[in-house]
Amino acid sequence: MTQPGPDQWICVRNSEGRWSVWPADLPVPAGWQAESAPADRGACLAEIEARWSDPRPEALQEAMA
């Protein structure tokens, strides 16, 4: 249960700019966008580690800009 069943995952991102991973074989939940090709979970998390550089929600980033 620590590592959910399916082998293939994708990176997803919501409108606030928060990232996560989602099983590639399931429909992406409303409000989330696919951001990568399917890969194993570790690879997706590594990609997020590289791409999610600002932890602040997008609206806050804009307000503080």
């Binding site: 069943g5 996560s20 991973v21 409000g31």
Partner: protein, 1289 residues
């Protein structure tokens, strides 16, 4: 073995299934079989005479109406059919006919097994048949129904079924294949979740559901393949409910038309991966069903084979049984009013009936104490959903079929109801409001200082202005490294007022941890004290303010004008992960303020609230509990020292008039114990607690001793902000389960229990707790990958709440929904283990251990030392707590697969550097550890005895103070040891009783030397207790240790005496009478219990001894009950009058074999004596007995544990008991039969024949003659019977 064996010209042998039904009937307990009822309705188009004629015709046609059973000498039954025996056709009123038929009783020995009648009412006619299940079942009644229809319509029907019994040839060849499946540890018996503490009682519940018409229609048209469809759906539901991917359940079958009973079950093994499509599961079922039916075996053989192993599953073929039955096709104007039902076997029987009118009815019959009725109702709904989904989209993955509807998920996951609208402002803004409204009201009390809201606000404002000058603003972390107290609270508020995020740091925590936090969080300012400056890392790039220097001096006292956004960071809290470095969890203002306002309403707080928060400031819960009262305009009393004694805590509560207290669960127990001892608990309004699982016993204690009407169990990972879930109850509430429920979500959140496919689990099914909604953290500081890993998209929020892009946090905690929608905690996901196909949560076992007296800590591990996996329990307890006691207690409480194979009692848990339990350092279980070598013998006698003990137990390290039984000594070893000791000390009357009383070399030697060996025949299994004595009479070749588990189960207050087995005495007296065997027992009972109440237990042949003792003691003791446990008579082997048969020449061969063997055996003299004591018939029976044995005659005697000795004792006892006649006695008898004994069709004594106060037997399924005495289900039933018997004593 031939299919049909003719017995003594009287009839044919019964099938295993028929024998089993007869054995049930014999002991007065027909369940799980029921009288088989057929009720047909013919409409008014037919005349009464036509209906009568048709009924008569079918009675003539079908052999079942001419069949009889007869009991042969020795108890065995056989079946015959004779023309003159046909039953008549009766007339009965139509009203209540079905119930009347179901209530029919039949005399199996020589009586008819069927009843038939006709009836008439306004709508037409009824034809009813009742059948004893030993005579037939649905297969027979289907043939009867069709025969009746044909006779009525005049159509040419099929010829009468012939009288062939179901083929049983070569079944034994099939056993190995089945055994392979049943013994494969990977494949576990599938079950639905049991009710906590439930046991499989005889009472059954029933639930029924008709499938939706469209679905029913599709299924009815499917033809023969429809059974596989139901089996596939059942497999998927069971897999989802048990978490097992390799599982089995039973499938039933019955011949379409038969003359005799043909109903039986076979196991069906399925491997269901969550990714397998519904179509693939269906294909697998079809293949497995076909494979199984090609090698069919009477289920009795399989069950008997499996139950030989101790610890086998109670229902080795399946705890759930599926029968799919289709009504026979009837012509127009005829219909079924009632159809026969299959045997209600196992924990749950699912009968699918495809009716001739196109309806499909699911009917569940279940063990009532094991399951919540609501759970069974939902199970039927789940089945329907899976059936529908499989038909609609065969390619859908089995693991992705929704079992719960959106409405169900919405209700289960919903938070506490709360219609209020939250103040949009941030926490500190709401708090400072009170400084304007009630400036003089107390806000904080700590270290003897009392601050008003006004004071707190002014000081925080000044410091906040100072922080602004240092550049603190939105998203800037400010460390607050100040010990708990008024000033720490003030500093935190200042950081928030300046727009920053506070980072609490405990100055007393290890420096390495604190340095990591300071650099990881990227703090730009540190508020601390001068004395902690040395604890800061060198080169820290942050401005440092010391409270001792009054850093706010000269700054304005007014609220700084700093707007706060909801998505702005409020704090970073570092979690103490068990591995790796602490992770910083960032929380935003909006969710935080909402959480606190929501919580205040759940906690029913007001401006009068005065809280004593005991949680440390390094946990988020510690901050919730001061923020909450301050936001309400109330106050908090902040403990200044690190640890208060319970006395100090209660004194503070009283002195400051606290009404709320929030306390770590572990400390709460100390408080409650103190309150219990002193009666000094102050009256409070509310205690809240959390931090770890709360066991029932602790909850009861605090509920009783802490005088507060309201209790709240809070739960929550830091990642979901303080306490996202609470369980709020009135004091005195009871709960079922290992730990107190976590309750439900608070505020704008949802709590889900999801499986590995992220699918919601049905109520009762274990999954991982996920928390969704707005009340979750932003994520981990500097760890975007970890944040993405743990905070995942919430796929339910769009549908349930219309929120898109929402996240949920996977907690890593296991839980399950309870019936009331609250969630129960079961341990950590990464501690869950899999053993023999079962998913096991060690937390549940730990909770059971913690309930035992004296156990203060518990840990359960799956160990894999030397290749074999086993569960091992560790308990911290005083030395007097014995491992064996704990083991017995767990056996009485947990399902078999959850009982550890060993328990180790420790003085304390080994810990690692982080003060966490060091799992790797836990010792291996084994023979009991002692400090160094066993103690050396003192003197020759001890040395001699020790040498014998070491040799016989095979334990060379044994010392003179070690317990014989702890060191691996078993009953037979004990006998050998005693025999050798008696040789060395001739003339001593040493018995096994002495070894029980004095189980060490030293104690027993002392007894020997003092000449104290008692020669006693009785052992006090428990010598104390206020209830009347229970005397246990032994079966053949059993020692009294077999009764230890039962003794433990009966509890501290029940004294138990065990008698030594006559057959274990070494001096053999031939041809002793039962009367003489019991004489010493009777003497003992007379001395101990004359004129007083007591109870007997007789197991196996011990039942006859108990009966004889009762006869001899009649009127002398107040015998409240004799518990007869699986007492069989001699059966046909040695029954007087049972003449054996031999094939031509067989008798001579056997006699030659016997003579050849007698020439070899070292027990020649004993055998000669025994054979010499036999009469002619008995000798014939002996020869037959030898001939029936598969193994050659043993000649390894005369050692006590040898096979030959055992064989001799068996025959000797047969001679003793065949001469014994049960006398009539008026005593209460409660009898218990092992399911396996009935399944073998063995002849159990029907005590109702000899006592007017004997009850029908209770059947204990899933155990056999040998294991029943240690079986927990039996223990439960025996205890209940004993309690009834002792009522009013």
């Amino acid at each position: 073995m031939s299919g049909t064996q003719v017995l003594e010209d009287a009839g044919v042998e019964l099938t295993p299934g028929e024998k089993q039904v007869c054995a049930h009937d014999q002991v007065g307990q027909l369940a799980p079989y029921g009288v088989q009822v057929l009720l047909l309705r013919a409409d008014a188009r037919w005349k009464t005479a036509e209906v009568r004629q048709a009924a008569d015709a079918v009675l003539n046609l079908h052999p079942v109406f001419r069949a009889r059973l007869h009991r042969l000498a020795g108890g065995e039954m056989c079946r015959s059919e004779q023309a003159e025996n046909r039953i008549g056709l009766a007339e009965r009123p139509a009203k209540g006919l079905e119930a009347a038929l179901a209530g029919m009783r039949f005399d199996l020995d020589g009586g008819a097994g069927a009843f038939a009648c006709v009836a008439a009412d306004a709508e037409g006619h009824l034809f009813g048949v009742a059948l004893h299940p030993a005579f037939g079942d649905a297969g027979v009644l289907n043939a009867v129904a069709l025969g009746f229809a044909h006779a009525l319509t005049g159509e040419a029907g099929a010829a009468a079924p012939t009288s062939a019994a179901p083929a049983a040839e070569a079944v034994r060849d099939q056993l190995p294949g089945w055994r392979e499946m049943l013994e494969d540890a990977a494949c576990a018996v599938a079950r639905l979740p049991h009710r906590h503490g439930g046991s499989e009682d005889v009472a059954r519940g029933c639930a029924e559901q008709g499938l939706k018409p469209a679905l029913a229609d599709t299924l009815c048209r499917e033809g023969a393949g429809v059974e596989a469809r139901f089996a596939a759906a059942l497999g998927i539901v069971l897999s989802r409910c048990s978490g097992q991917r390799d599982l089995r359940f039973a499938t039933g079958s019955v011949r379409a038309q038969a003359v005799r009973r043909s109903e039986d079950i076979l196991p069906l093994r399925l491997q269901i991966d969550p990714g397998s499509s519904a179509a693939a599961v269906l294909e697998q079922v079809q293949a497995e069903l076909a494979k199984g039916r090609a090698r069919t075996v009477p289920s009795e053989f399989l069950v008997q084979d499996m139950l030989r192993r101790e610890g086998a599953d109670r229902h080795p073929l399946g705890a759930v049984t599926l029968h799919v039955r289709r009504d026979a096709p009837l012509p127009d104007g005829l219909g079924f009013c009632a159809v026969p039902e299959p045997a209600a076997q196992g924990e749950l029987l699912l009968l699918v009936r495809l009716c001739s009118d196109g309806r499909v009815i699911l009917r569940a019959s279940y063990a009532r104490d094991l399951f919540e009725p609501a759970l069974i109702g939902r199970f039927l709904v789940h089945l329907e959903r899976v059936l529908e989904a499989g038909l609609a989209d065969p390619e859908q993955a089995a693991g992705r079929i929704a079992l719960l509807s959106r409405e169900e998920l919405g209700t289960l996951s919903a938070p506490y109801e709360d219609g209020a609208v939250n103040d949009p402002r941030a926490v500190h803004e709401i708090i400072s409001d009170h400084a304007r409204q009630t400036p003089d009201k107390t806000a904080l009390i700590s270290g003897g200082q009392e601050w008003s809201h006004g004071t707190l606000n002014r000081r925080a404002n000044r410091l906040a202005h100072r922080l602004r000058t240092l550049g603190v603003g939105a998203e800037v972390p400010v460390a607050v490294m100040v010990e708990r107290g008024n000033e720490a609270v003030m500093a935190i508020l200042a950081a928030l007022k300046a727009g920053g995020a506070f980072v609490p740091i405990d100055p007393d925590h290890p420096e390495s941890r604190n340095h990591h936090i300071l650099s990881d969080a990227g703090v730009q300012a540190v508020i601390t004290r001068r004395r902690h400056l040395g604890k800061l890392p060198e080169g820290l790039k942050a401005r440092i303010l010391c409270l001792d220097d009054d850093p706010g001096a000269g700054q304005p006292e007014t609220d700084p004008d700093v707007p706060i956004r909801r998505d702005q960071m409020a704090y970073i809290m570092y979690t103490s992960g068990s591995t790796g470095k602490p992770k910083g969890v960032a929380v935003e203002h909006g969710p935080l303020s909402d959480h606190l306002q929501d919580t205040a309403r759940v906690y029913e707080m007001s401006s009068e609230s005065r809280e004593l928060p005991f949680l440390p400031f390094s946990s988020d819960g510690g901050h919730e509990r001061w923020m909450n009262p301050l936001m309400m305009g109330g106050s908090a009393v902040i403990p200044d020292g690190p640890l208060w004694t319970p006395e100090q805590s209660f004194a503070a509560m009283r002195k400051y008039g606290c009404n709320n207290a929030s306390i770590p669960t572990s400390y709460l127990q100390q408080l409650a114990e103190w309150a219990s001892e002193t009666g000094e608990g102050p009256e409070m309004r509310l205690y809240s607690f959390g931090g770890e699982g709360l066991a029932q016993a602790t909850f009861d204690l605090l509920s009783r001793e802490l005088r507060a009407p309201l209790l709240i169990n809070g739960y929550g990972p830091t990642e979901t902000i303080m306490t996202p879930m609470v369980w709020k109850v009135r004091a005195g509430t009871r709960f079922e389960g290992a730990y107190a429920p976590l309750g439900r979500a608070v505020g704008n959140r949802r709590a889900y229990v999801l499986d590995a496919q992220l699918m919601p689990c049905p109520v009762g099914v274990v999954g991982e707790i996920h928390l969704g909604g707005e009340g979750v953290a932003r994520g981990y500081v500097n760890r975007p990958g970890t944040t993405a890993d743990r905070f995942i998209p919430d796929p339910f929020a769009p549908e349930l709440d219309g929120r898109e892009g929402a996240r949920m946090y996977r907690s890593g905690d296991l839980g399950r929904w309870r019936e009331d929608g609250t969630i129960e905690f079961l341990g950590r996901v990464d501690h869950q283990v899999k053993l023999n196909g079962y998913r096991i949560e060690p937390g549940e076992i730990e909770a059971a251990l913690l309930q035992q007296p004296g156990v203060s800590e518990a840990l359960v591990l799956l160990r894999e030392d030397g290749g074999e996996k086993r569960l091992v329990g560790y308990a911290v307890a005083p030395q007097k707590v014995q491992e064996e006691q704990l083991m017995r207690a767990l056996e009485a409480q947990l399902p078999r697969h959850m009982v550890p194979s060993a328990i180790v009692v420790l003085e304390r848990m080994p810990t690692n550097a982080n003060a966490k339990v060091d799992r790797a350092a836990l010792p291996l279980p084994g023979v009991r550890r002692r400090a160094g070598q066993g103690e050396a013998p003192a003197g020759e006698a001890e040395a001699a005895v020790l040498a014998v003990w070491r040799e016989e137990t095979g334990n060379p390290d044994m010392g003179v103070t070690d317990d014989f039984f702890d060191m691996g000594g078993r009953s037979l070893t004990a006998l050998k040891v005693l025999a050798r000791m008696r040789k060395a000390w001739p003339g001593t009357a040493l018995t096994i009783a002495d070894l029980f009383d004095a189980p060490t070399v030293r104690a027993l030697t002392r007894r020997l030397e003092a000449g104290d060996a008692t020669g006693r025949q009785a052992i006090a299994l428990r010598g104390t207790g206020s209830r009347p004595m229970l005397y246990c009479f032994p079966g053949l070749l059993v020692s009294t240790r077999e009764y230890l588990r039962l003794t433990a189960y009966l509890g501290e207050d029940q004294p138990v005496t065990g008698f030594l087995c006559h057959s274990l005495n070494e001096e053999k007296h031939l041809n002793v009478a039962v009367q003489d065997v019991v004489a010493p027992y009777v003497d003992h009972i007379r001395r101990q219990s004359a004129g007083r109440p007591c109870a007997f237990l007789g197991w196996s042949w011990g039942g006859l001894l108990a009966w004889e003792a009762a006869r001899q003691l009649h009127g002398e003791v107040d015998l409240r009950m004799i518990g007869m446990v699986d007492v069989c008579d001699l059966g046909r082997d040695f029954a007087p009058g049972a003449v054996p048969r031999f094939d031509p020449g067989e008798r001579e061969t056997l006699e030659a074999e016997l003579r050849a063997w007698l020439g070899k055996t070292r027990m020649r003299a004993q055998w000669d004596a025994l054979i010499g004591a036999m009469d002619a018939l008995c000798y014939e029976q002996f020869l037959r007995f030898i001939g029936n044995e598969a193994e050659p005659l043993p000649f390894d005697g005369p050692e006590v544990s040898s096979r030959e000795h055992t064989f001799w004792v068996l025959i000797d006892n047969a001679l003793v008991f065949r001469q014994y006649q049960l006398a009539q006695l008026d005593v209460p008898v409660a009898s218990f039969s092992a399911g396996d004994t009935l399944s073998r069709g063995l002849s159990l004594v029907d005590w109702r024949q000899v006592s007017p106060r004997a009850a029908p037997a209770e059947v204990v399924p899933g155990t056999n003659h040998l294991h029943i005495i240690g079986d927990q289900l039996f223990h439960g039933r025996f205890k209940a019977a004993l309690e009834r018997a002792f009522e009013g004593v």
